[in-house]
């Protein structure tokens, strides 16, 4: 504990977006492109103030819309600038053409996605479908669930995305409202230490510069596309190893695990967060802040004798298939809580549910998987909801699943 105290410069009350902005300042970003949309906006409010106050020397560009916003950082990144960008909900989708080519041109842009429901109807609250729109186009995607984790993961994000073995854009997803607008205490490390962790951005032979005359993104059609996709997929696969390295290095430099506040809480896996999972018969799965009421509910249920645990999916791309298998293989029932949906999907369920089911398919002894669609558009998933989910999971330890998908707390469906 005492050693960690030394590594904490100060403790500041800030919300998730402010935490990302401060981490971007510590990472000394060069170019920031902004266009407002709730709930991500405060990251730009904060960083513009940090620039105005002289704390950070960076270009702050207000774009004319999300398309221009993402084009701006893509080009800046190809020219060797460390960049920060972001959006939410339909704004993120409006920039989609630029967002897709950011990945194919291998620009390691770091974006914060303040998860928000897709219109209509207008809602500001969290829903993960906005970020999941890029799940198939080669973005790295990570979900964070506290302001501390948002800060730490932002530093890791630059290190992973800019690694020459990776060079891929990275989206840091955080729940609109429950994290973007909730102030928690963040332990900021001494600034000098960040230099030990985060090397300068170096594109090597891929730098667009007069001394290094190259062209990026020529029109090449069917002769090149397959090969480029194949390379892209390899880079995504290499990212797994780079992520592990980054977390190890983070522990070494800062003396604690990313997202934790002291050395006593040191979960061992970068990709997933296992919680009371070792002897769990029922395992709950979720992404983002839903893990917080889940943990409280699990403690309550454990006291009542339920053997229940949790696996929080932290990195969604690359997907932690092996970790999912490792932690779930011995469980009886897996309850996947999706803050998203996939209309008309194979089992009429959510995105994470289908990924988990797919990951477990090759096992000889598969646990049963039940899906809970909940918390859409910013609706709460309470501790009581999680306890109910656990009980439904428990009922299916020995009986086959009759209803694979439940909609949590929707008006009109008993669940």
């Amino acid at each position: 504990m005492t050693e960690v105290k030394k590594l904490v410069e100060k403790e500041v009350l800030m919300n998730g977006t402010q935490a990302v902005a401060h981490a971007a300042m510590y990472a000394d970003v060069d170019v920031v492109a902004a266009y407002p949309i709730r709930p991500y906006t405060e990251v730009m409010d904060t960083i513009s103030k940090l620039i105005a106050d002289g704390e950070l020397d960076a270009e702050f560009i207000v774009a004319e819309g999300e398309h221009g916003q993402f084009e701006t950082v893509k080009h800046a990144s190809l020219a060797g600038a460390r960049t920060l960008v972001g959006s939410s909900g339909v704004g993120w989708l409006y920039g989609m053409e630029a967002i897709v080519v950011t990945a194919t041109d291998r620009a390691p842009v770091v974006a914060i996605i303040g998860n928000r429901a897709l219109d209509d109807p207008g809602a500001y609250g969290v829903e993960h479908n906005d970020a999941l729109m890029v799940r198939d186009v080669g973005w790295l995607l990570v979900w964070v669930d506290t302001a501390q984790e948002a800060f730490d993961t932002t530093l890791i994000a630059y290190r992973v995305a800019e690694d020459q073995r990776v060079l891929l854009p990275l989206g840091i997803s955080m729940d609109g409202g429950f994290l973007t607008h909730s102030e928690q205490i963040v332990r900021l490390p001494p600034k000098e230490l960040v230099k030990n962790f985060l090397p300068p951005y170096n594109r090597g032979k891929y730098l667009v510069h007069p001394d290094n005359p190259i062209t990026v993104a020529p029109q090449v059609n069917e002769d090149w596309v397959m090969e480029i996709r194949r390379q892209h997929e390899e880079a995504m696969e290499r990212a797994r190893g780079v992520i592990v390295e980054a977390y190890e290095e983070f522990k070494k430099v800062f003396g604690r695990y990313p997202g934790s506040t002291n050395e006593l809480q040191m979960p061992e896996n970068p990709f997933v967060e296992p919680y009371m999972i070792d002897d769990a018969e029922v395992v709950l799965i979720g992404m983002g802040t839903v893990s917080k009421p889940m943990k409280v509910a699990i403690k309550n249920m454990r006291r009542q004798g339920y053997k229940v645990g949790m696996l929080r999916i932290r990195w969604f791309r690359p997907f932690p298939t092996q970790d999912v298998i490792k932690y779930l293989a011995n469980s009886r029932v897996v309850c996947v809580v999706d803050r998203d949906y996939s209309m008309g999907s194979p089992n009429r369920g959510g995105v994470v549910y289908h990924e988990i089911r797919s990951s477990l398919y090759d096992l000889d002894q598969r646990p049963r998987v039940i899906n809970f669609i909940g918390g859409l558009g910013g609706r709460e998933i309470t501790i009581q909801d999680v306890e109910k989910i656990t009980k439904i999971g428990y009922e299916h330890r020995d009986t086959p699943i009759t209803k694979p998908v439940y909609w949590v707390g929707v008006r009109g469906d008993p669940w």
Binding site: G177, F178, H181, S182, E183, T261, V290, P293, K295
Partner: protein, 363 residues
Amino acid sequence: MGVKDEVKYVEIVYRGIFQKRLAKYIAEGIVYTAREMGRPALSFGRYGDSPERNGVPAKYYVGIGNGVNEEDLIGYSTRVEPDLVDAIIVLDDTLLKGVESWAWQGVQPINLKLKNNGTMLVTSTKRINELLKMIPKKDFNWTLGVINTEPSFSGLWAFKDDLTMEKVWGGLAKLRPDIIDLDHLIKYVSKKQDANKRISAVKEAYSSVDYRSVMKGEGIDFVYNPPRLLTWQEMLEGTVIPAVPRGKRNELFKRGTTKFERPTVDFDTCIKCKLCWIYCPDECFDETPDGYYDIAYDYCVGCGICADVCPVKDCIVMVDESMFADYRRPYEMWKENKAKYKEWLKNVRQARKERVYVPGLGR
């Protein structure tokens, strides 16, 4: 609705944009002071509110761990709003008549979520007994405190520091030392700029806050029936809602609690020009059989456009909402007794016309 004593919650009710930062800074001060006391604490806004919109009632919360660690505190507080709160801070006495959030919950009583034996603290120049004419009764005893000050607009675009934060903290420390106590509050405040000035504001509020116990059943009747929202089978598809028939208004969505001042009409000088009826963006004016225009205050958001377009001097005048205890229609009052109405009009208009200059409010 289970009482969670593992966490103490403070609710801060404020007017959107005008007091947004003020509410956030007050919450921040409570968090840091609680941490000085060795307790984990955090804060969050009720995100479904629209605090950027002028005057909209909005809420901010502080959660303080009462024997739980920081991680569990976050678990309990990953909420839109807590089920029950230990203390409510009301930053504008005109909010006491009820708040309507953006989310189709209807007009809620100001003390809806107050815990048994809870505390409510109001900034107001009115006395406790006057305020109780607007506050709904509870079926338990609770404490009402008043910090004697004008409603502060210091959360407006640029933060105008008028020491309202310090007064609120001081009042809270007096009434609820279990949430923040004076010693730790002063320790926190002394780290701020102009500390001496702030410390004396805290101490003054601490010693001068007026309060008393409110008995079970004391206060006004306020029947709150949350609207029943439709199930997915009942709703029209494709995000469709049916129009409100001509001449009617949406009973479920009033928005009248958004206003901190309301238009008053002098029917004796009204020339029936119809401009108020034409220009009102919320269609609050109803034409009467004799050609005057009555106001449905339930739906008036206090934008002041009617007062702006009215061509007759002092026919429509905006008056501070704290002068009114209810939403009674003015035309009825005028018809009942014209002389009495004239006298009443003179009184309310004289009292407090304006709290702060906000451009575009029609004065």
